[in-house]
Symmetry: C2
Subunit: 207 residues, 2 copies
Amino acid sequence: MQEYSSKLLENAINQIAKLPGIGRKTAVRLALYLLRQSSEEVSLFTESIANMKNNIFYCSKCHNVSDSPSCEICSNPHRNSSQICVVQDIRDVIAIENTQVYKGVYHVLGGVISPLQGIGIADINIGSLLSRIDMEEIGEVILALPATTEGDTTAYYISQHIRKRNQNIQISVIARGVSVGNDLENTDEITLTRSILNRVDFDSTLK
Amino acid sequence: MQEYSSKLLENAINQIAKLPGIGRKTAVRLALYLLRQSSEEVSLFTESIANMKNNIFYCSKCHNVSDSPSCEICSNPHRNSSQICVVQDIRDVIAIENTQVYKGVYHVLGGVISPLQGIGIADINIGSLLSRIDMEEIGEVILALPATTEGDTTAYYISQHIRKRNQNIQISVIARGVSVGNDLENTDEITLTRSILNRVDFDSTLK
C-alpha cells in the first residue's frame, strides 16, 4: 500500500482510481493535475459531474439520457417514430447520431442478455420495447447490437417476440462486413464470410 | 462537433475530456460509467476532489502536499532534517517514499528551469530552497531531478548557488544507469556511458 503525505490527496486518488481503465499511476497524475488547476476550474469539473448525476433524466420511451422526461430524439417531430433502432447502450446512440444518417428513433436496452454475467431478459429494457411495438405504429425495428454471441442471442430473442406479436414489422440487422480501411487479410473469417454472403450490388454503393 | 441528447451529459464529458491523456471517447465512457453508479458513489467521487482542492495545504517548508501547514515528513522527528532531497514534483516524493529507503526530507521545486516552456528561476521554488540552506543545518542536498537537459540545467544552477553560500554541504545526484530488468542492447548510449563511468564496487551492491 502506498503512503501519501496527505489523506485528502489519497482519498481523491482512491476515488479516481475506481474509474474503469484508470490505473493507480494515472489516478495520481489526474489528482495532481486537478490540484494544480484553479478552484473555479475544479468546481466546474466536480459540479458538471454532480449536476449530470442528480438532474439527468432517462427518456421514459427509449431510455436514452435526456435533460427532460422525454428525450430530444423521441420528441422531435422530424424524426421517424415508426422506425426503432435497438441498441445496447447510450454510447451506441451517440455513435449512430454522429453518422447523421439515421432519422428514426431509438430503444436503449441498457445491456444484452448474458447468462455468464447474470444479465437476464428482465434486467434489460426488452419489456418496454415490446410494449412500444404493441402500442405504437412501428414499421421497422433495426437491431444494432454488438457482433457477439450475447448480442446475437438478444437479437434473436427480440426478433422472435416481435414476430409473435406482429408479422408485418420489418426486422433488420445492421450489416456486418469488412470495416472501411481494413484489409481482407486481417479480417476474421466469420466477418469475411458474412461480407461475402451479404454482398451488395456495386452500383448501389456509389449512390 | 458531436451532438448529445443531454446538455448535462455533454457538460460532464467536456469537463472530463479536459483531463490530460483523456480523449473524447474515454471521457464519454467515464461519464456514462459515473452515471451508472449510485448517487452516493458519485458524491464520494466529486466531494473527494473538491475536498482535496479546497482543504489541502502545501507545506511551508518543502512545498509537498499536506493536510496541515507543515507536512508529515517535515514534522516527523525521525526524519533526518539535515538531508534534503530536491525533486521536481509531488509525484517524485510519492515515488521515492515508496522505495522506503530515504529517511531525509524533501524540497519540491514544482518544475524545472525550461526557457522553451517559459519556466524561469523565479517560477519554481529555488529561492525557498536557498533560504533553507541559509537558515537550517544542512549536511547534504540530493538532486533527484529528471535526466533531461532541463533537469541537468536546474541541478547545475542549484549546485552553483549552494556552493556560493556553503562549501561544506555535500551535493549529490541520484545515480544514472541501466535500469533493473533492462538489457544493455536497448539502453541509450548516454545512460550506458554514465553507468560505465560511475561503476561501483561489486561487493557494495550485495549489502
